[in-house]
């Protein structure tokens, strides 16, 4: 309980400083939303000409898209402290050492050290795209399908958070953040905004068996949209996403703790 209050206190300080310049803060949110808007618009207007992408309509792709934007936005806002370049800066400047000296849980401190409120813009646009998806498709809702929506968001949030945490932990040894990981974070989020069967086999297999991304967005969406599974996975495939993501986050957390134990400061 004490930890939770402390987290909110620390975060509140962050928020107050971000809200200091009201006008520029509003513009920060708008410009963040604008990125999502523009990226989606470019694809939406091109759909007019092509009508579908390997059997999926714009509305159906919009469902995938919305889930990714909301989850990534949520994760990016809450886990900004674990964004590898941001975290690497803390290692390089030695501010991470300061956090270690305080008698408070270190994970909580890193979490509370950054919170970018402007990501709300991304989340709001994600919700807008979700409503567009509802409008363009006629999904026959059941309780299971309704329950799948928050599960998808939660599992993808955990998935991206795990990747961030993993990336930050690596910087204990490399000091610099490893750009290559962007293939999994930003690349992964781009990948998941489209139905997985459009990719080449080798690429899809990597994101099925090595990084289980396919079960977080594509399979639940297949279930919600009542589409047949082109890869003949067992029928429980749409429901394992949350367990896989939780496992990934747990593994990343273990690795993070391992990293802290073996951390040697840069001495700067």
């Amino acid at each position: 309980m004490h930890q939770a209050t402390l987290y909110f206190r620390l975060v509140l300080v962050q928020l107050q400083s971000q809200l200091q310049y009201r006008a520029s803060f509003v513009f920060e949110i708008l410009s963040t939303a604008f990125i999502v808007f523009v990226e989606f618009l470019a694809v939406a207007v091109v759909f007019e000409r092509f009508e579908h992408i390997k059997g999926w309509t714009l509305g159906e792709v919009a469902l995938l898209w919305a889930m990714v934007e909301i989850s990534f936005g949520l994760m990016d806002m809450l886990f900004q402290g674990f964004d590898p370049p941001v975290f690497a800066e803390k290692i390089r400047l030695g501010t991470f050492d300061q956090l270690l000296l305080r008698p408070v849980n270190i994970t909580l401190q890193v979490l509370a050290s950054e919170l970018e409120l402007r990501r709300i813009g991304k989340i709001i646009l994600g919700i807008a795209i979700f409503f567009l998806a509802l409008n363009l498709t006629d999904i026959e809702w059941t309780w299971i399908k309704v329950a799948l929506i928050p599960c998808m968001i939660l599992s993808m949030t955990m998935f991206f958070a795990a990747l961030f945490m993993f990336g930050s932990t690596i910087t204990f040894w490399t000091v610099q953040s490893i750009d290559l990981l962007k293939i999994l974070t930003y690349g992964g989020s781009y990948l998941m905004t489209y139905p997985m069967h459009i990719y080449q086999n080798w690429m899809r297999r990597i994101f099925t068996f090595i990084i289980p991304a396919i079960f977080l967005n594509y399979y639940p969406a297949l279930y919600i949209l009542d589409k047949p599974d082109p890869f003949n996975f067992p029928s429980f495939a749409p429901f394992i996403g949350i367990a896989l993501a939780a496992m990934m986050l747990l593994l990343a957390y273990r690795f993070w703790i391992f990293g802290i134990r073996h951390y040697q400061s840069t001495g700067s």
Partner: protein
Amino acid sequence: MRLFFELSKLHFRQQMAYRTSTFSNLSVNFFFGLMRIAVLLALYGERESVEGLDLVGVVTYLALSQSLITFITIFGSGDLMRAVYSGEIATQLLKPMHYFNYAMAEDMGRSMFNLIFRGVLLFAIYDLFFKVTYPANALVWLCFFASIWLAWLISFAYRFLVNTSSFWTPNAKGMLRFFFTLSWLLSGFLMPLRLFPDWLQRIAAFTPFPYVLDTPVEIYMGLRSPNEMLESLLLQAFWVVALILLAQLFLKRGTRRLVILGG
């Protein structure tokens, strides 16, 4: 002029220091290229050609535009903004060279490096994995090279102009993000401009953005006749002049209201 090229060379060499980041950058770029190609090929489906872009054409368009990302700095840059907020601008303005030229020389060195060690290399990698086309004759090559340098000038002047907003606001980040994102949409970076509906193509034509990416790529692919190429180059030159004048004007106005606190 000599000073200009010396400065460029210096920044070119500076980029050499970041070899591992070049490797990462190439990999990430290539991965995104793979996905973008997959998306467009999936959209094409059974179609063989859309709006004069066949399958090889669309792959070439994407491969070339991915290869030019760092050369024309499509994601934007914030050098001037950082210099204004840190106060460093004060010493830079004192240098015996006009600040605009100084910044341009710096940017040119970086872009030259990115053209050779990222652009050419990336395109060669795309060529290994996909079928891409090369210009049909020397005239097209020539126009293409003229066009990418004009594109770079437009990009530099535009980025500089957007950055001058930091003279007026205490946090220009949102402003930069907004104006750079706008250029992604209308330059052909997110989708080849030809595939957009007419109304959006018409809007784009009134902005400098297509001339930053779409124009050189289309020239390269031989989608424009000699007359059209000449017209494109002239329009690019128009935007170069217009944007450089605007950027200079805003720099002048901005520095007039600049207050530097000693420290």
